[in-house]
Symmetry: C2
Subunit: 351 residues, 2 copies
DNA sequence: TTACATAATGTAATCGTATACATTGAGATT
DNA sequence: AATCTCAATGTATACGATTACATTATGTAA
């Protein structure tokens, strides 16, 4: 391990003091043009990089942002993190990315970790805004942060996300427009994320507006969809309400649901309609494409960076912003075959 | 921004010196059990976390590992990073994750960034082992690192990955076993990654072993598959070799290829067979499931952590290891319909 | 000429931690 | 009683940068 060049090495090499080198490197204070040139060339030849550790220790800022997402393996958050990284980079910041694996304790420890690294601020998606110990910790420490995807009802902090409630309500009305009357929902466990709750509430509300009740709610582990197969088998195996359409609270669940339904000999969309939420690539690549709501994940990441940095600069900024979502017209939402069958029968009598 | 408690605060609060606190916190040296208890409770009540910055500055190690992957949005690397994080966590290290976005310059700057953070070592996937400026920088600095997914022919450093050449050769023999004779390959651009090169070389070799030549090679931008549609349209539009099977150098490309072929009215696997490489979830969720090679991405990440830490501890360890891959029996590789058609015709005459 | 503003650079303290070395005290050995 | 061990703890320095303040040089006004 060769020792890296320090500011002292540069100073010595140029015959100036460390203060002057620092001034040149940080472009602060007055330095003779000639000296600047001398120092800059020394920096280049010696391959000097200021130690972030030392910088963080001494000064308030080390131009580093922490990022915490629930999972690296969910494309939604991967895209968000990617958006963060791109924007942070463009604005001269380095993002440190950690994942909480949907675990409240890891969420907290991620925050504490990032604090230990003296980051300037944190961009994060928490499992649940209301109960997050991580947020409490951040508030207490007074460390600036911006939520991503979480859209708190009672705003407690900066946030960037889509209005999950409203989007889910729109999904409801779209599904209804296709003539479905018996509708179910597959959701990640409510205890785990506020997004799941919001989407559920919005969907219920959208249905209720048309006087329809949710026929079934299946809650599964969002990571590997444990129990989904069993639940669907039960529902379609026994007498009772047999949904002709399902709203899944994210696209991965939607794809899993479609696969399980095929196994039950319920082809999508011929017999059952499915609508997802996220608009991930995997949904778009299949045939027919998954009908879904696309959230602007990359934009959420970059907008969150801007919001946080504005906060750091004391620039008067939005306190939070809801970004638009987009209806993805795929092929997995179709006219209710059962209803249309009935209708054609009825019309026979009517004519 | 409330100031965090420092080691001094703890020392004062307990009426001991900072040295004692440090000893307790780092579990080093001898301290009276009673004192340990006192300090530990103070740490808890004051919410003390040692500053990584200071620690990095003073001591050689801050128990931090850098991670550089080509893309957060490719599930392969997301899984790998996830594996790294889990294992690092378990071993008391914090991973700092950066993505290079498949860009050589960003790759280098990511390394330099991590150096500035004084990480203990780096786990990374580079675009191309042979030409990587990032690796040159690491070697020069003498910073320990371990490659992930890159399997250098002439070993220059520790690595964990699968034998891409061999795996691709196996794919060739499998495709051939299904009676295909006109076979193409869709690959990420060779200039960009050594994995693409290895898979190509292995596939060619596998075909050649059976006396078959590769009929078409389509190289596309691995991020958004630009030009794929055009290339396929050309190939199937004009006279000449019409492949009945394609090997795609990764699953995302495979899914994209399938979608494009459907548009050309070439259903998979009825008319065309497709084999991918990676074994990502999106491939498994579709119907029929994508036939592919599954690489143990999470294991690659965690094994790489172990290898690097062994290196750091000067434990005599493997210098590199090839992990096993797995053939994923999906539904997108089928018997060559053209051949079987011919065969049935021929058998008519034969009988 | 003297005084003074200003530009350019240097000096030294500081951030929070780790650690080599010094110190203290108590029990064991002579 | 004097000496020695060893456990337990304290003191003080260093890590690499930033920055307030000090210093020097130089040109300008009185």
């Amino acid at each position: 391990m060769v020792k890296a060049a320090t500011i002292k090495d540069i100073a010595q090499h140029c015959g100036v003091s460390v203060a002057t080198v620092s001034r040149v490197v940080n472009n602060k204070g007055v330095v003779r043009a000639e000296t600047v040139k001398k120092v800059e060339s020394a920096v280049l030849t010696l391959g000097y990089r200021p130690s972030m550790a030392a910088r963080a220790l001494k000064s308030a800022s080390n131009r580093t942002l922490g990022v915490i997402i629930p999972s690296l393996m969910n494309p939604v958050f991967a895209e968000t993190a990617s958006g963060v990284q791109q924007r942070a980079r463009a604005r001269g910041y380095t993002p440190l990315i950690l994942s909480s694996d949907y675990d409240d304790e890891l969420e907290l420890s991620a925050v504490e970790n990032l604090q230990a690294y003296q980051v300037d601020g944190i961009l994060l998606t928490v499992n649940d805004v209301l109960s997050s110990a991580a947020l409490k910790q951040l508030d207490q420490a007074g460390l600036p942060y911006c939520l991503m995807h979480n859209v708190p009802r009672h705003r407690v902090a900066g946030y960037i996300g889509v209005d999950n409630f409203r989007a889910a309500a729109e999904v409801a009305s779209r599904i209804l427009a296709y003539g479905h009357t018996c509708i179910g929902m597959v959701s990640g466990e409510f205890v785990r994320t506020d997004r799941a709750r919001e989407r559920h509430a919005g969907f219920i509300a959208g249905l209720k507006y048309a006087g329809v009740e949710l026929a079934h709610l299946v809650q599964v582990d969002p990571v590997n969809a444990t129990g989904l197969q069993q639940a669907l088998t039960n529902i379609y195996g026994q007498s009772g309400a047999h949904p002709t359409a399902w709203f899944c609270s994210n696209d991965l669940l939607a794809l899993a649901t479609i696969a399980r339904l095929e196994l039950l000999d319920k082809p999508v969309p011929e017999q059952i309609s499915i609508v997802g939420f996220d608009g991930i690539q995997a949904g778009a690549l299949r045939e027919p494409a998954l009908t879904s709501i696309r959230t602007p994940n990359i934009d959420i990441g970059s907008a969150a960076v801007d919001l946080l940095l504005a906060q750091l600069d004391d620039t008067p900024a939005d306190l939070g912003r809801k970004l638009g979502y987009q209806w993805v017209e795929g092929g997995t939402l179709a006219t209710n075959s059962y209803t249309s069958h009935n209708l054609s029968n009825e019309s026979k009598y009517d004519v």
